[in-house]
C-alpha cells in the first residue's frame, strides 16, 4: 500500500533542514526471455520503499527504507540528516539555495490506453516463445535467437518541504528480438526492438513483433559475409536511431549542468553557435512531438514538472539540463532533469527524450546528393567524452556511390567531435521517430531514456578494419 502524500509530508516536516524530500517508489519489473526454444528468464519482481534526501549545512544526506511505517521512516530521516551533517564538514562549496522550479502538485499518469495489465502473463510468455521461434525460421543461417519482453510499472509519490506533492503512475514496456546468424565459423547478430511509455498497443505501434523478427533475421543473414568499410572521413546519412544516439551520447551528456560545471566542452558557450543552423535539439520530459517515447517523465524526482528543454536552437546553445541545485548556480529555473532509478537511488541530472527537430528534406533527395558516403541504420550503443569526442556503432551501413544506395557493410563505427559533426549537418529530414527507447543510460545508476529525430546528413570519421 502506498503511503499518502500527507503522511510523507508529516515525516519530512520533522527534518531540521534547509530542504527535505521524500519519494515513495514502488516498482514492478517483469520479464520473459527465451533463447533457442529454451526459457532464459521468467520473473515477477517488486521493489518498493521510500528514499529521503535532506540538505543540511549546505550538504546533502540520503537514506532509504523499505518499511513504510512511521518509526522506520523517521529513522531514515535521522540517518539522512546525520550523514548530511557529517558530509558538510567536507563540503568546500556549500549549497546555499536551490533554484526556482515549477513544482508539481496532484496526479500525473504517463501511461496510455490498452494497459499492460489487460494482457495476461500467458499472452506475453506465448508471444516471446512464438517470435523467438519465428526469427529462427526465417533463414537457414539464423541458427539462434533471443526474444525478450520486459515491463516496468512504477508508482511514485514525491513530496518536498517547499511544496511539491505529486502522485505518478507510469508504464514502460520493452520488446526485443535478436537473430544470430552463423556460417563457416562466422557469427553475426542483429536486433530489433521497441521501448515506449504507455500500453501494449503503443509498444507495437511502429512495427508488429512479427515484422521485428523478420527484420532482425533478414539483417543478420545479410550481415554474414558483409565486409567492413575503409577507415575514412566521409559524408554519412544517419537514421533516427543514430540521430537519437548522437543527440543523447555526444551532445546530451556534455550539456548536463553537473558535467558543464566540471568543465565539459560547452562550458562558457551559452548563446554561441555550436551547430549548423539547421539543428534544433531538445531534451523533453513529456516528448510531446510524438507521445509515448521510452524516456518520458511528466515530473522529475525532485517533484519538478519536466520541461521541454530546447538545448540548441537553430544552431545556438540555448540551455543546459538542470536539477534544482545547478539551476540556482546558473540563476535559471530547473528543467526537471533530476532522476532517480529506484527508491535506493538519489536524484541525479539525467536526460529524458533527446532529439533533433525535423527539417524539410526528403529522404531520397538526401541520398541523391551524396557522391560518396554511407547510410547508417540502427544504433549499437556508444560513448562520448568530456571533450565532445564520441564514437558509436551502426547495425547496418550501406555504401552510397553517386546517389545510389549500394552494398551492406558491417562492424561500422563512426566517431568525431560532437559539435564539429553537428556543425557539418547540411540536410535535416522531414521524417521523425523516437528509436532508442528500449535502452538504458548508466551514470552511477540506470535511467530509461529515449532519443530520435529525422534522418540527417553530416560528416564523421567512419571506422573499419583497413586504413585508407
Amino acid at each position: 500500500m502506498a503511503p499518502s502524500p500527507s503522511f510523507l509530508l508529516k515525516i519530512i516536516d520533522q527534518a531540521h533542514s534547509q530542504y527535505a524530500e521524500a519519494r515513495f517508489h514502488s516498482r514492478k519489473f517483469n520479464e520473459v526471455r527465451m533463447g533457442n526454444g529454451e526459457l532464459e528468464e521468467a520473473r515477477f519482481t517488486t521493489l518498493s520503499g521510500v528514499g529521503i534526501r535532506v540538505l543540511i549545512d549546505g550538504a546533502w544526506g540520503f537514506s532509504s527504507s523499505s518499511s513504510l511505517d512511521e518509526e522506520n521512516l523517521l529513522r531514515s530521516l535521522k540517518d539522512a540528516s546525520s550523514i548530511a551533517k557529517i558530509s558538510s564538514r567536507g563540503v568546500a562549496n556549500k549549497i546555499l539555495k536551490l533554484g526556482d522550479a515549477n513544482l508539481a502538485k496532484g496526479k500525473f499518469t504517463s501511461s496510455s490506453g490498452d494497459s499492460l495489465d489487460s494482457h495476461s502473463t500467458e499472452e506475453k510468455v506465448a508471444l516471446v516463445r512464438e517470435i523467438e521461434k519465428l526469427a529462427r525460421s526465417k533463414s537457414p543461417v539464423v541458427k539462434s535467437a533471443i526474444c525478450s519482453y520486459r515491463e516496468i510499472i512504477d508508482e511514485k509519490i514525491i513530496v518536498t518541504s517547499d511544496g511539491a506533492a505529486a502522485e505518478l503512475h507510469d508504464m514502460k514496456p520493452e520488446f526485443r528480438i535478436t537473430a544470430i546468424a552463423s556460417e563457416k565459423g562466422e557469427v553475426v547478430s542483429a536486433s530489433e526492438s521497441s521501448g515506449v511509455t504507455g500500453g501494449w498497443k503503443r509498444l507495437f505501434e511502429k512495427r508488429s513483433p512479427e515484422e521485428m523478427a523478420e527484420r532482425a533475421a533478414d539483417i543478420a543473414s545479410r550481415l554474414i559475409g558483409a565486409s567492413q568499410p575503409k577507415g575514412e572521413r566521409a559524408t554519412v546519412i544517419l537514421d533516427p536511431a543514430m540521430v537519437g544516439l548522437i543527440s543523447h551520447e555526444a551532445i546530451g551528456h556534455t550539456v548536463e549542468a553537473d558535467f558543464v560545471l566540471s568543465g565539459s566542452v560547452v562550458k562558457d558557450k551559452m548563446g554561441e553557435k555550436v551547430a549548423s543552423e539547421l539543428v534544433t535539439l531538445l531534451d523533453s520530459g513529456p516528448g510531446s512531438i510524438k507521445p509515448g517515447a521510452g524516456g518520458t517523465i511528466l515530473v522529475d524526482d525532485e517533484g519538478v514538472i519536466a520541461q521541454e528543454t530546447v538545448v540548441i536552437d537553430s544552431g545556438v546553445l540555448s540551455s543546459y539540463l538542470h536539477n534544482r541545485e545547478t539551476a540556482a548556480l546558473f540563476d535559471v529555473e530547473s528543467t526537471g532533469n533530476a532522476r532517480a532509478f529506484e527508491y535506493t537511488d538519489e536524484p541525479l541530472i539525467r536526460m529524458r527524450n533527446t532529439y533533433i527537430k525535423p527539417g524539410d528534406y526528403r529522404h531520397d533527395e538526401m541520398v541523391k546528393e551524396v557522391h560518396h558516403g554511407y547510410l547508417l541504420k540502427g544504433a549499437l550503443g556508444g560513448q562520448a567524452d568530456a571533450n565532445g569526442e564520441f564514437m558509436f556503432g551502426a547495425q547496418e551501413a550501406y555504401l552510397i556511390e553517386n546517389g545510389e544506395i549500394g552494398k551492406l557493410l558491417r562492424g561500422v563505427t563512426i566517431s568525431g567531435q560532437a559539435f564539429d559533426t553537428l556543425s557539418s549537418v547540411d540536410a535535416v529530414g522531414k521524417d521523425f521517430g523516437f528509436e532508442i527507447g528500449s535502452g538504458y543510460c548508466g551514470k552511477w545508476q540506470m535511467a530509461k531514456v529515449d532519443g530520435g529525430g529525422p534522418h540527417i546528413r553530416c560528416e564523421t570519421i567512419v571506422g573499419g578494419v583497413t586504413p585508407s
Binding site: L47, Q228, G263
Partner: protein, 441 residues
C-alpha cells in the same frame, strides 16, 4: 535465513516440486564526489529475496524486498504462476548439497565500525590527492563505498549456506583542462575486502596522472602496427568478448566462437586465463555461487588451448557435466552464468620492455567502442593513448580509432607483461599485439 526458510516452506506447501530461495542483505555507507567537492553522503540497508521454483520441470521466479510473511507468500504464488506457463525443461534441476567451506579473507570485522565519517575521510583524501597532483585536474565525479553483504541460500535439495562479505570500493573520474583544451576522460576504480587494503588515493593519483598526461594530444596518420593494451583497455576491448564466449550457455546456443573448440588452440601460447572465486584479493570472490555451489579455481584457457567453459547447474546438466560454481546474478533474477575473478597469467617482460621493444605503435590506456561479443569484431576510439616510435613514447594522441577482431587478436599476442592490475574483478597484465589497424583522424 528465516525469511529464506519461510519462502522454501511456502513454495513446497503451494505445490513447487523444487525451490531455491536466495537472499542478500546489504548495509552500506557511501560518500559521493562531484566537481572537486563532496556531493552527498548516503547510508542505508536493505534486503532482497529471490525465489526460484520448479513445477513439473518448468521454472518461475519472483523477487521482493518487503520481507513480511504475506509478501513472501505472494511472491511464491507469483513464481508458481509463471512456472505454470513456461516450457518444461529436464535440465531445470537444483544442485545437491556439497561442502560448506567458507573462504578466508572476505570479511573484515573492522568493516562493522566503518562509518560515514570514515567514508568521508577517504573521499576527501581522494580529492586532496588529485588537487595536490596538479590544479588542472577536475574530478567530475567519484565515490567511496563501504558495504557489508549477507548472502543466504536455502533449497529443497538440502543446501543451507550463508556468508558475510565486506567490500570497500572506490571510483574516480574526470578530466584535465588547460585553457580551452579538455583532455580525454579517465576513470579509475578499486576495491578490497579489508580495511587495511583501502588504497583509494593510489587510484586517485593514477587518474590524475592519466588525465594530465593526455593533455596536448595530437592527431596521427593511419598505419597498421603494434598496440600495447593496458589492463583497463584489455578489459574494455577484449575481456568482455572472451568471457562471453567462455560461458557455457552462449556456447550451447551458438552465440560463441568457442563452440566445438574444446581442446583446440584458440589463442597465442603465451595466454593462460583462469577464474578463481576463492581469491580474496578480487572483489568477485565468494565461498559459494548464486546456486549455493562452492567456488573453486579453474583454468579456462591453458597456454592458448581452450580447456574448460564456465557452467552453472542448468548448463552443466545439458552437457552432462558438473557445475563449475559459475552461477551468477543478484537475488532479483534467476541464476545466470558468469565469472567471479578472471585472471590472465603474467608474462616475463616488464611493461617498460614492452614499450621499448615496439618499433611503431600505440599504447592504448582506454578503449571506447563497440565489440560484438558474438563475432569479436571491434572498432572504437583510443582514449588516453600515446604514439610510440622506436621504443619511445612520443606524445598523447586523439581522434584515433582501432579496429579488428578479438579472436584474431588473441592469436597475435606477442608479449605479456609481468605487471598485473586489478580491474574490478579481473586481474590483467599489459599485452602487446601486432598487426592492428590504427586509423588517424
Amino acid at each position: 535465513m528465516e525469511a529464506c526458510r519461510i519462502g522454501k516452506e511456502k513454495a513446497l506447501q503451494f505445490g513447487a516440486s523444487e525451490v531455491e530461495v536466495y537472499g542478500r542483505s546489504i548495509k552500506e555507507v557511501e560518500s559521493f564526489l562531484e566537481r572537486n567537492d563532496i556531493k552527498l553522503g548516503k547510508s542505508h540497508s536493505h534486503a532482497i529475496l529471490g525465489i526460484r521454483v520448479f513445477k513439473e520441470m518448468a521454472m518461475g521466479f519472483a523477487s521482493l524486498n518487503e520481507l513480511t510473511v504475506d509478501h513472501i507468500e505472494k511472491a511464491v504464488r507469483d513464481a508458481l504462476k509463471i512456472a505454470g506457463m513456461t516450457p518444461r525443461d529436464e535440465n531445470n534441476i537444483l544442485p545437491r548439497k556439497s561442502s560448506s567451506i567458507i573462504h578466508d579473507g572476505l570479511y573484515d570485522q573492522a568493516a562493522e565500525g566503518f562509518g560515514a565519517s570514515d567514508s568521508l575521510e577517504v573521499a576527501l583524501e581522494m580529492l586532496e590527492t588529485t588537487k595536490s597532483y596538479d590544479p588542472r585536474v577536475t574530478v567530475d565525479s567519484g565515490a567511496f563505498n563501504s558495504s557489508i553483504f549477507d548472502n543466504v541460500i536455502c533449497t529443497s535439495s538440502g543446501i543451507e549456506r550463508s556468508e558475510t562479505i565486506s567490500l570497500f570500493s572506490w571510483a574516480i573520474m574526470g578530466m584535465a583542462t588547460e585553457g580551452a583544451e579538455v583532455s580525454s576522460f579517465d576513470y579509475q576504480v578499486g576495491s578490497t575486502h579489508e580495511v587495511r587494503g583501502i588504497h583509494a588515493t593510489a587510484a586517485a593519483r593514477v587518474f590524475a596522472e592519466n588525465v594530465v598526461n593526455s593533455l596536448g594530444a595530437k592527431k596521427i596518420q593511419s598505419f597498421t602496427g603494434g598496440v600495447i593494451l593496458s589492463p583497463q583497455a584489455l578489459m574494455e576491448l577484449v575481456l568482455q568478448t572472451v568471457v562471453s564466449s567462455l560461458r557455457s550457455d552462449n556456447v550451447q546456443k551458438g552465440r560463441s566462437k568457442f563452440k566445438d573448440r574444446l581442446g583446440e588452440s584458440v589463442a597465442s601460447e603465451s595466454l593462460t586465463i583462469r577464474d578463481d572465486g576463492t581469491n580474496p584479493n578480487g572483489p568477485g570472490a565468494s565461498s559459494f555461487d548464486r546456486e549455493g555451489v562452492s567456488t573453486s579455481p579453474i583454468v579456462l584457457v591453458d597456454n592458448g588451448e581452450l580447456k574448460s567453459l564456465m557452467f552453472n547447474t542448468y548448463t552443466a546438466s545439458k552437457d552432462g557435466a558438473e557445475s563449475t560454481g559459475h552461477a551468477t546474478g543478484s537475488p532479483r533474477s534467476s541464476p545466470s552464468v558468469g565469472p567471479s575473478n578472471i585472471m590472465i597469467d603474467p608474462g616475463e617482460v616488464s611493461k617498460e620492455e614492452l614499450i621499448s621493444e615496439l618499433e611503431k605503435g600505440v599504447l592504448v590506456t582506454r578503449f571506447s567502442g563497440n565489440t560484438s561479443a558474438v563475432s569479436g569484431d571491434f572498432s572504437g576510439v583510443v582514449k588516453g593513448g600515446f604514439l610510440i616510435e622506436r621504443g619511445e613514447i612520443l606524445h598523447p594522441i586523439k581522434e584515433t580509432l582501432v579496429a579488428g577482431n578479438v579472436f584474431d587478436l588473441l592469436r597475435n599476442i606477442s608479449a605479456i607483461s609481468k605487471e598485473r592490475e586489478w580491474m574490478e574483478s579481473a586481474l590483467l597484465p599489459y599485452i602487446h599485439v601486432e598487426g592492428i589497424s590504427i586509423i588517424g583522424g
